[in-house]
Amino acid sequence: MTAPPIVRLENVTKSYGKVESLRGVTLDIGANEIVGLIGDNGAGKSTLIKILTGVERPTSGSITIKGEKINAGSYSVREAQKLRIETVYQESSLGEKQPLWRNFFVGRPITNRFGFINVKAQREAAEHIMRTTIGFRGVGIDVNTPVSSLSGGERQGVAIGRAMYFESDLIVLDEPTVALAIKEVQKVLDFIRSIKAGGRTCIYIEHNIHHVHEVCDRLIVLDRGKVALDVPTSDMTYAELTEFLMSLHAPARNTA
């Protein structure tokens, strides 16, 4: 890897009282790669993401973003956004009744100095994002369509498109295909590929290892707070990956 990694975590731990959620995680997220983050409930995926995006602070260890060491004490969501790291949550980031042109820009609208929104500029930019970045085509959606008439997959597309428009270098997707129909899942996987095509990096958190294996360049498996596997996807077939994940569970099953 020639370019410095976007994010480097070294020996990061996180404890909630007596519960150790992360027990010394070290990993790099390189530029322009799609990294699949896999792990059971309680493996530490969401804790890891919360630390990465500034929602929570690590108990120990260091975070380096784009070659710069982060002061863990003052790292926050706002700080993460400034460093161009964005999280796209499953639900809860789009206004149902609001048109797409508002949803793309909400929170940071294009305004004049009196706070009035330049609707024309926002419509044009939204149109551009839809046609080029995320490739919505001929599906009866335009910038005035409210989110409520979009399918689950299309909503993920809008959220991803928004993150890309605001030049995020690292986009974190938290289980974007949960509760989606198969056709919709394919759309979301295409949006994920468009993140890479757009030169950005993506961390893709997913339960369904099949999807992960399909789109990711690299796989990281977390198990009980530690990195259990970190390999390029090409090194491991889907069957091998399944077998590896099963083997993690085997001892647990015996003791149960």
């Binding site: 949550y89 809860s92 980031s93 789009l94 206004g95 149902e96 009744k97 609001q98 508002r102 909400v106 929170g107 940071r108 609208p109 305004t111 706070g115 009035f116 929104i117 609707v119 599906v139 009866g140 959606i141 369509t145 008439s149 399918s151």
Partner: protein
């Protein structure tokens, strides 16, 4: 799903009806038409229209403020007391100290402070606005009755002063306050539809959780909202005092139901996240025209509320049906029935 998207756009008639305020303007025109038939004496002359335009501005201005409040998924029931308080402050300062514009400023300031306190109670005590503002209706209403000693104030000499000419004078026969109401409507429309404050309200009303995730300072925006509502209610109170040259402690209480009705007749959804400012303007006009029209048609005044209620239900159903006929269960079932 693609079907509904297509249907929403087909046909010039559908598109015309979907324009903001068009359906409700039609209801208004139909009502006027009915009254021209039932009470030609009154409704073919200009006087009755001038009389509307003199009396409708206070409730219309409050309804415009309330539209923004409803957009944010909140409600304000305290405005009658704010109207009364502002009216009292204005009348007292005019009567005792001959103050005019200063009295106006003081009355607005009182409304703004009351609104700010409403906002703080709602956001900082975490009380639902329905309950908080209902409580504040008692608090402010009780307070103004105590402070004023329960008596009324008459300020007949306010007529002819500059402030009266500016806010409640006549251009020929045309009442100036109606222009202030329309001006308020224009400002509120731009605030809601073109300003980032309005966008914050839309997202807050849509989903508080989403609003927070996208970085809207929800508490701060709500406090601003209730403060603005307080200011507009106070403005309405002063206009009322200027038009009637009186204060009485129940001033404003009569507006409680008609203001709320104006907002919902106008097509603003109680669920928040969307609002129709032009609809509210016509909603306020409709309520006023029903009151005057029924009396002029020789129907007993007691029937007024009955008919406002009927128009209320018709208008709200129509607004919903135009948005999406399937949202009205009766229409949905009828459509399904005729298709089979």
């Amino acid at each position: 799903m693609a079907g509904t998207r297509q249907a929403a756009r087909s046909g010039w008639l559908a598109r015309f009806l979907a324009l903001e305020g068009v359906p409700i303007a039609i209801v208004f025109a139909v009502l006027i038409g009915l009254f021209v038939i039932t009470a030609p004496g009154a409704f073919t002359g200009y006087r009755i229209y001038m009389s509307f335009m003199a009396t409708v501005p206070p409730p219309m201005i409050v309804a415009l403020g309330l539209t923004l409040v409803v957009v944010a998924g909140e409600i304000d029931l305290s405005f009658p007391a704010v109207i009364a308080f502002a009216s009292y402050v204005f009348c007292l300062l005019f009567k005792e100290y001959d103050l005019t514009f200063v009295a106006f400023g003081a009355a607005i300031l009182v409304g703004v402070v009351m609104g700010l306190i409403n906002g703080l109670v709602i956001t900082k005590l975490g009380m639902p606005s329905l309950i908080a503002t209902l409580a504040m209706l008692f608090v402010w209403g009780g307070f103004v009755t105590v402070v004023s000693g329960g008596i009324s104030l008459a300020i007949p000499t306010v007529r002819g002063t500059a402030i009266h000419t500016i806010f409640a004078g006549r251009i020929g026969v045309f009442p100036v306050q109606f222009l202030w109401a329309l001006g308020t409507a224009v400002v509120v429309w731009f605030l809601l539809n073109r300003h980032r404050f309005g966008e914050s309200l839309l997202f807050i009303g849509d989903s508080l959780k989403v609003a927070r995730v996208v970085g809207i300072a929800t508490d701060r925006e709500k406090i601003k909202l209730f403060t603005l509502m307080g200011g507009l209610s106070a403005f309405a109170g002063v206009l009322l005092s200027l038009e009637t040259s009186t204060y009485f402690s129940q001033a404003g209480m009569g507006y409680l139901l008609i203001v709320v009705a104006s907002v919902f007749i106008g097509g603003t959804s109680i669920f928040g996240g969307s609002g129709k400012v032009i609809g509210t303007v016509f909603g306020a006009l409709i309520v006023a025209v029903i009151e005057a029209g029924l009396v002029a048609s020789g129907i007993q005044g007691f029937w007024t509320r009955f008919y406002i209620g009927v128009v209320f239900i018709v208008a709200v159903t129509m607004n919903t049906a135009i948005e999406d006929p399937d949202k009205v269960p009766l229409l949905r079932d009828l459509r399904a029935f005729t298709r089979n």
